[in-house]
């Protein structure tokens, strides 16, 4: 099914008697999807864009490329840096805004600017009973009632099917530069990234690629300011082997590779995504005995390639954080299980929002 209006979508859900598998662009599938396909691609188009208010509203099935083109024309962007997962997951198609929100997909800038959920101002969605619900709005500060906007971000279509989303957008910076530290061990790299992120120089990306032996730090802003901060940042690491990149396209390519997990692309195996306290990352990564690793978010995000069917959680043991399997199938669930009382709350919410259990049933449970 591919409804072309919110009303039709509501009717489709109301009329469903068995599981529906909800899909935006199908570029970032996770877990096992079962049931009749319900696509949101038919709900498309930017409905409001006010550059002076930094606000964009679009229907959920709007392709990311269309939104990026509109923002580009005004020299603005989605600041949370949407990862393109097609290379890693071997998928095709066009990523949609609704799918991005449903996955709370956020790239390297998440540590500095925030995640997708932090830029999401409002949502409209159809719940499992076919009821249209609106929450939040199009203004930047809004504490009117409960924040279902955050709840919907990252709910992977299990609470409702998004029909419209509003975002806070940001101006593109005039310049960007990247500092690369070479030859650091994982532990040294995480410490270096912590020093950079704890500096007053507004580092907007901090990643470490162990295979390339390279630790990347990004700075963005006005040209003179970027040049100043780059020098200051360099001075934090005396005696290190350092190179710098200030050419716009090259900086952009470096971070697209981090964002899209390029070092793990084109290789077989399962891909896991670990969210942890940054300083714990090297030790946790060692426990994984991974075939390939990539650290982002100053170490707070670890991508790991493991042999097919490996239970990463079993290797990790108890730790503060969570591990999600983003590629591969196996005996263990894709999403990290919540502790019992939290799982009970989540299950309670799913039952209330989707009483008949038709929306991606079992996906996150």
């Amino acid at each position: 099914m591919r409804p072309t209006s919110e009303d039709d979508l509501a009717e489709a859900i109301l009329g469903a008697h068995a599981a529906l598998s909800i899909r935006g662009g199908g570029t970032r599938p996770i877990g096992t999807a079962e049931g009749e396909l319900l696509e949101t691609g038919g709900l498309s188009g930017v409905t409001l864009y006010e550059p002076g208010a930094l606000t964009l509203v679009a229907k959920a099935g709007t392709p990311l490329t269309e939104v990026e083109a509109a923002l580009d024309a005004e020299n603005q962007r989605l600041a949370f840096e949407v990862p393109d997962m097609r290379g890693l997951l071997g998928t095709r198609g066009e990523s949609t805004l609704g799918g991005i929100v449903a996955a709370n997909a956020s790239g390297p800038r998440r540590i500095a600017s925030g995640a997708c959920r932090d830029f999401l101002l409002g949502v409209r969605f159809v719940d499992g009973a076919g009821t249209v619900v609106s929450n939040g709005g199009r203004v930047m500060k809004n504490v009117t009632g409960y924040d279902l906007v955050k709840l919907m971000a990252g709910s992977h279509g299990t609470l409702g099917v998004l029909t419209e989303v509003s975002f806070k957008v940001l101006p593109k910076p005039e310049a960007a530069a990247t500092l690369a530290l070479h030859g650091l061990s994982d532990a040294e790299a995480v410490a270096a990234m912590a020093a950079a992120l704890g500096s007053p120089y507004d580092v907007s990306g901090a990643a470490h690629d162990p295979a390339a032996g390279r630790t990347l730090l990004r700075i963005e802003g006005f040209t003179r300011s970027v040049a100043y901060r780059l020098e200051q940042l360099k001075a934090l690491f005396p005696g290190h082997e350092i190179t710098e990149e200030t050419e716009a396209a090259a900086v952009s390519a470096l971070w697209a590779a981090v964002r899209d997990v390029a070092p793990l692309q084109g290789r077989t195996g399962d891909v896991w995504r670990l969210s942890c306290k940054p300083s714990d990352a090297p030790e946790l990564a060692a426990r994984l005995r991974a075939e390939a690793l990539l650290y982002d978010w100053g170490g707070g995000l670890v991508w790991a390639l493991l042999a097919d069917g490996t239970d990463a959680r079993a290797r990790l043991g108890a730790f503060a954080g969570h591990a999600t399997r983003v590629r591969g199938t196996g005996g263990v669930p894709a999403f990290h299980p919540d502790p019992a009382p939290v799982a009970a709350l989540a299950e309670g919410l799913r039952r209330r929002f989707d009483p008949r259990g038709v929306l991606n049933p079992g996906l996150m449970a």
């Binding site: 550059p51 208010a53 998440r110 009821t131 500096s199």
Partner: protein, 482 residues
């Protein structure tokens, strides 16, 4: 303001309930004499008062859990309270409720500069969180005006903002984890030093839930390194519209100031008379602050001033030193105090799309004439969060009601132009009955469904957020179930 009638059976069981609470708390932490419970009869929305059944001041998560367990068993409503600075009546008790104050729980549990977090008990005040990390040049970004007094617990409940959230975001963007006690006494942990939720983002919905889903006892907060410096520029304009256009142009130009504050003539006059900050007498004043190194500040201010010049400012004053910066902020920071000196006032908190600023200010001016009440506007212009202050005389019969009607009209206007009822203060009881203007029945039902899951008996912070008619069936059902 209508509140539900207190449950007579609870009032009749007061002694028994207090005795049970005394079994789990030290004697000094249970306050039940009317002479003492009066201290908890209201928050900063002082027009509404009601002493609670009793007040408890637990010292630990375990004690909070024990208290909630008893109240759950006894079917007694609980009103969580941080420092009681809510302007929306978020901590207003009912006569049959137990006030649960977190004021004694104010310790710093952990500071971790490498991972840029601090973990605190939630009774700690907002400013003292920044104070705890100041020695390493770090700070906690959300800065509500009441930051000297307000508690992190209340900040989380209301998702508080502040003047600097244009750059740093509000509480929800800086909150990484909580320890929370559910109404039945269950203790849960959400988030922590790591980012994002493993499953549903429950932390996101708890922040801003006005104490109706649980009592947050500990919080992990993101801390940031202080910028090298900050400096404001003050600009005066001949019309509100022009100032509004200037704000929009600054934002479009890609400069991201940490704050853009707006004051209109009535506000400028009051502040000047009170604080003698040397403000120019004009229709609209902007204070724009930028951060960074000396050179970066100069570069950004240069761009901002160039934009401002295109709008023919009647005054442009760049702070050359700390002292001048202090004076530029002095008037703005004393705005509420200045208003309080000349009159009683009601502070509104609606948000509007920045593009609607001139229209909304004009309509407020017209309504001010119609209602015969003066309004001073001071607000966070960069994000459209307005703070109209309606001046009235509380001692004059009918003026409070007139003022409330006027306020409601302004908030309806905010919703009409695509904005919302409250940008950072919360709904509480103040905006409760206006929720229908912003949300359809189904929208409120979805929010109340969340409450049903976390607090099935609807005992936490009763009669707030949702219009009484919308929540009635749930509240009566919850009572009938007992």
């Amino acid at each position: 303001m209508q509140m539900p009638a207190p449950d007579a059976s609870i009032l009749a069981r007061k002694d028994q309930i207090v005795a049970r609470l005394r079994e789990v708390l030290p004697a000094s932490a249970v306050i039940s004499e009317l002479s003492e419970t009066r201290a908890y009869e209201c928050d900063a929305l002082t027009a509404y008062r009601c002493p609670p059944l009793c007040a408890v001041l637990p010292s630990s998560t375990e004690e909070v859990s024990a208290v909630l367990k008893i109240c759950h068993e006894e079917g007694v409503p609980v009103v969580p309270r941080g420092s009681g600075t809510s302007l929306a009546g978020g901590a207003l008790p009912t006569a049959d409720s137990v006030i649960l104050g977190v004021a004694k729980m104010n310790r710093v549990l952990e500071t971790d500069y490498a991972n840029r977090i601090i973990r605190v008990q939630t009774g700690r005040t907002n400013l003292s969180v920044s104070g705890a990390v100041a020695e390493e040049d770090f700070f906690y970004a959300p800065d509500p005006s009441s930051q000297l007094a307000c508690a992190i617990a209340g900040n989380i409940a209301m998702n508080s903002g502040g003047a600097h959230c244009l750059k740093y975001g509000v509480t929800t963007n800086n909150l990484m984890g909580v320890t929370m006690v559910l109404m039945d006494g269950t203790v849960i942990e959400l988030g922590g030093a790591h980012l994002d939720a493993p499953g549903l983002d429950l932390l996101g919905v708890i922040c801003g839930s006005e104490g109706q889903l649980g009592v947050v006892t500990e919080a992990t907060l993101r801390i940031l390194r202080k910028p090298e410096g900050a400096r404001p520029v003050l600009m005066g304009f001949a019309a509100n519209e022009v100032a509004g256009e200037c704000v929009s142009d600054v934002i479009k130009a890609g400069v991201l100031p940490v704050a853009i504050e707006f004051m209109d003539r009535p506000c400028i006059e009051a502040c000047e008379a009170f604080a003698h900050a040397g403000y120019p007498m004009c229709e609209a004043l902007l204070i724009v602050e930028v951060e960074g190194s000396e050179a970066e500040i100069a570069e950004q201010l240069e761009k901002i001033i160039e934009i401002a010049r295109r709008h023919n400012p009647v005054e442009l004053r760049e702070a050359r030193d700390e002292d001048e910066a202090g004076r530029i902020w002095l008037g703005r920071k004393s705005a509420f105090g200045a208003m309080g000196q000349i009159n009683d006032y009601m502070c509104l908190d609606g948000t509007i799309p920045v593009s609607s600023l001139p229209h909304v200010l004009r309509r407020i001016g017209e309504m001010s004439e119609e209602f015969g009440l003066k309004v001073a506007n001071v607000f966070h212009a960069g994000d459209g969060n307005m703070h109209p202050l309606i001046l009235f005389n509380a001692n004059e019969e009918g003026q409070l009601e007139l003022c409330e009607r006027f306020g409601a009209e302004i908030l309806k206007l905010c919703v009409e132009v695509g904005g919302c009822l409250t940008g950072e203060h919360g709904v509480g009881i103040e905006k409760r009955d206006l929720m229908h203007t912003q949300y359809a029945r189904a929208d409120l039902e979805a929010q109340m469904a969340v409450k049903d899951v976390f607090d099935p008996r609807w005992l936490l912070n009763p009669a707030k957020v949702f219009p009484l008619d919308a929540s009635e069936s749930r509240r009566t059902f919850a009572i009938a179930a007992e």
